[in-house]
Amino acid sequence: MITIIDYGLGNIRAFQRVFEHLKVEVSIATCADDLVSATKLILPGVGAFDYAMTCLNHSGMRELLEKKVLSEKIPVLGVCVGMQMLASKSDEGVLPGLGWIEGSVKRFNPETIPFKTRFPHMGWNSVIPVNHSPLMNGIQSDSRFYFLHSYYFEAVHPGHTIATTIYGAKFCSAVQRENIFGVQFHPEKSHSNGVKLLHNFANL
């Protein structure tokens, strides 16, 4: 059962519809009880880092979430701000992140970006899978996904990076450490490429 964590942010319905289309059982969690039978988790997110962390911390789900992910090792996919929350901290805010994958969240260096409109990184950009993660199975190099963010995850260990994208400079657009995955782009809004990725997650 894929459970989408609804802590107040993110396009829950869009994820739900993709999984329904894939005929994968999906549920939505708004409290700790809803997480109990989860075998896979989606952690969506939009907006500011601190606000997202605050919402998650106040949702009553954080404790069980950490148990499921860190002890039971069930797969979890953080999306957009959900991926950034996997880090230990972010330049965007003051609150600590979940710290599930070693890394921190940085702002794009405006000097490297060749456009007048630099923030946010918004639109369709190419994703290049690296390090052979099952999440990226069947996704061609240079496949485009939809991005909407101004900060990105900088992984400490290069081996945790499973996809890169270029915006000004190359940055990490997807991460994995064991059962913990994160994607900076929005697979729920990236047409067939996104569906493929979510299908891969469901099939883990």
Binding site: R13, V46, A48, Y146, L148, V195
Partner: protein, 259 residues
Amino acid sequence: MLYPRIIPCLLIHNKGLIKTVRFKDPKYVGDPINAVKIFNEKEVDELIVLDIDASVEQREPDYKLIEHLAAECRMPLCYGGGIKTVEQAQRIFNLGIEKIAVSSLAVEQPGIVAEIARRVGNQSVVVVMDVKKTGLRNRYELFTHNANKGRGLDPVKFAVQMQDLGIGELVINSVDQDGMMTGYDHKLIDAVKEVITIPVTVMGGAGSLQDMGEVIRKHSIIGVAAGSLFVFKGKYKAVLISYPTPEVKEAVFKEYFHP
């Protein structure tokens, strides 16, 4: 590499899709749900859907319709029309919409717009500026309510105010060029782009992919939106949905996108 966005824009009037010319003479174009489904199947970059009656009739957004449209989209969907409160905006986001668009609200109650941006994040708030040339000197003026209410505001100054307010994106819509299919209003676009650094999408006048290319050539990263171009075909304005295939899009970018 990030690419410019090519965005169909649909107008809803009396539950059906219409297209206007200079915001007048609505021509019936069909059912919104099937149109959105076809655009989704064509894998468009993004979609803008505007209910042009809601503000004028002072009624609530049509939540059922919004939900059905959102269900058909695997790409970002921006919805506008009749949004006046934070609660309405939140309700629409919960139905699966990525961005909400406001027009008259930004003029009449900018505080509420700022509040929505604060609650959901600025990336989700879009302000649409309908701009028409008025007066003896043909100056650009901001209009609302389907270009029926002149607001006496200079769009360039207003754009800066909106940017300072903390919105995520600005849509510049030329009333004079709407439905004409003779090209975008470059003067207007250039003037606003001069002072704005947040994302911009332009609308009104696209008659060909070359028209879109010209905007891309000048401004690189920008959203180019069109109504007539993606809904009409040929000199008799036959109603037939179209959108450039990936190959055609590549060709357009190759020719016009040189950041």
